[in-house]
């Protein structure tokens, strides 16, 4: 009996699927993978297609005639794109980093068992997850009270703080930063801020990186808050510029040339839109390996609670 059991545990077949099933699953996954990337490839190929080919043949992954006119057109209006990129980068970096510091500073006292007022401040934070004022009151506060209409600060403030991320960071502090280390630092006379910035934060890098990635992605992909708050074209971020181009291809034309009459029909509108989408996806593709590394590590943090 014992021998038999050993034989089974040595040969891993009992805990693996059969070869046939493995092949079937692989086929299934290849199909799903194609479904995941096909639309993107379509956008890329359309952006590289000749405008006339689109008009006669429609969008296709295998265009009959390639052309770079769409990118040429975007390049001609590069200032608009550069400015939009600038707004996106600014909100993403400032909002992401500032928000991370604020959230980590809020999470730290909540993770400390010896902090007397832990639970009331925890409740204050949790309530924001359960209940919200909604669109109209929030808009009123931003515009009427803070005067942030058509101000990039509105885009930053709107996504600066998330109770959910605070909970993720707090949980990580609690489980991965040894209490003894904090106590030892205090016995050595280190102040709370010193302990926090020099000892706790470096130890919490995985959680902080994950939250930073999540929130930076949210900032980068934000089109809704510009829709609410931003009115002047020079403050559009990349996503909102694209949103505008969806209906008005001329949104891309820089303010300087806007005075001149533009022959809209000369714009390669179908392909230029798709080229713009590729331009906007660019940085995400570059950041993708980093994203993936931290997301996979940290994604489970999001699902675990206290």
């Amino acid at each position: 009996m014992k021998k038999q059991a050993e034989a089974v545990s040595v040969a891993p077949n009992g805990t693996q699927i059969s070869k046939g099933t493995n092949i079937l699953l692989n086929i299934l996954f290849v199909i799903i993978a194609i479904i995941c990337i096909y639309p993107l490839i379509l956008v890329l190929m359309v952006s590289l297609t000749d405008e006339m080919t689109i008009i006669t043949n429609g969008y296709s992954v295998f265009p009959k005639q390639f052309s770079l006119t769409a990118y040429q057109y975007i390049f001609e209006n590069i200032m608009t794109v550069v400015r939009a990129y600038g707004v996106s980068i600014l909100t993403t970096l400032v909002g992401g980093l500032l928000g991370l510091i604020i959230m980590a500073m809020y999470a730290y006292p909540l993770a400390r068992d010896d902090f007397k007022y832990r639970s009331p401040f925890n409740v204050i934070c949790v309530i924001t997850m359960l209940f919200s004022g909604g669109l109209v009151p929030t808009y009123m506060v931003f515009v009427k009270v803070l005067g942030l209409k058509d101000n990039i600060l509105a885009l930053i403030l709107a996504q600066l703080f998330s109770a959910f991320y605070v909970m993720i960071i707090r949980t990580f502090f609690k489980t991965n930063v040894p209490k003894s280390l904090i106590e030892a630092a205090q016995i050595d006379g280190a102040g709370e801020y010193f302990t926090f910035f020099r000892i706790v934060l470096p130890l919490a890098k995985p959680a902080l990186a994950t939250v930073l990635m999540f929130s930076m992605l949210n900032y980068w992909n934000d089109w809704y808050f510009p829709l609410l708050y931003i009115t002047s074209p020079d403050k559009y971020n990349l996503q909102y510029l694209m949103y505008q181009m969806q209906t008005k291809i001329a949104s891309l034309i820089t303010a300087s040339s806007a005075g001149a009459t533009i022959d809209i029909s000369s714009i390669p509108s179908e392909t230029a839109r798709m080229a713009m989408a590729i331009v906007a996806i660019g940085p995400i593709v570059l950041a993708y390996p980093f994203f993936q590394k931290y997301f996979e590590k940290g994604i489970t943090l999001g699902a675990t609670k206290e």
Partner: protein
Amino acid sequence: MSSKSNTKIEVAKTQTVKSSIASKKNITLISMLVPGLIVMLLNNYMPMFGLVFAFRKMDTVQKLFGSGWNGLKNFEYLFSSNAAWKITRNTIGYNVVFILIGLVLPVFMAICLNELRNKKAAKVYQSLFFIPYFLSWVVISYVVFGLLSNEYGALNRIIQMFGGEKVSWYSKPEAWPFILVVVNTWKWTGYDTIVYLSAVCGVNQELFEAASVDGATRLQQIFYITIPSLVPLAIVLVLLRLGRMFYTDMGLFYSVPRNTGVLQDVTNTIDTYVYRAFTATGNIGLSAAAGFYQAILGLVVILTFNAIVRKFDPDSAII
């Protein structure tokens, strides 16, 4: 703690020293909370007071504080129209479908990915599945338009290739419940799969070995070991989503259908309704009332489901 009288005094001394240190410590720790408190005040708490707008008479933003109380008129108007029923139906309907698909499909995919014998390929698949999650709703709107556009869309091209007639998708409301579900599934399945996959990988391997020694097939192992071990995570995720049951993504319901009027019967949710009432028609009171309705329903739902879960499995409750 050896001799009595002396140590008593010392203990008392250290206690007062300790308590003054403690109060100083608490103050320093509170100072760390201040930036977060300010942001929450601006983003969350001040708007909560703004919920009274729902009970005010307001035609324009300018007359905000000048106009008087309106009692429940805004709500009466909201519920007397057909809109309240439609947006509630759409919001709940889509979310229920999203939650179900978001549970079954990712769990299935995570288990299958974990079963693959070629681990390298599994990694590659995982990276590809993850891509849609990174795309903004505006980019996804472009992608959907590229597929469905009336004149040039890839889907119509394929239909024509097989001898069919062009379909103008953006004026065909009956197709959109399906389209929205597909688009949402496309965006989120990869992400959810990875969340579940990390839990699948965390299952104790010895359990499988023991089961295989006892003669369990791999399929039996999946049903009796893998799936049960995913239940706690699934409960937390479903609960979080149920709590958002009355909220929908503006990107999916506003940007992807390109704010098309004919489609509103099936694409209008509470969020898009609030937005349109506010910006397009400028009916602030009505918009605020709908927002209030959403906030209350959302709160009731999350507290109810949390209480139910707490009863059966206290560890999985989120509050």
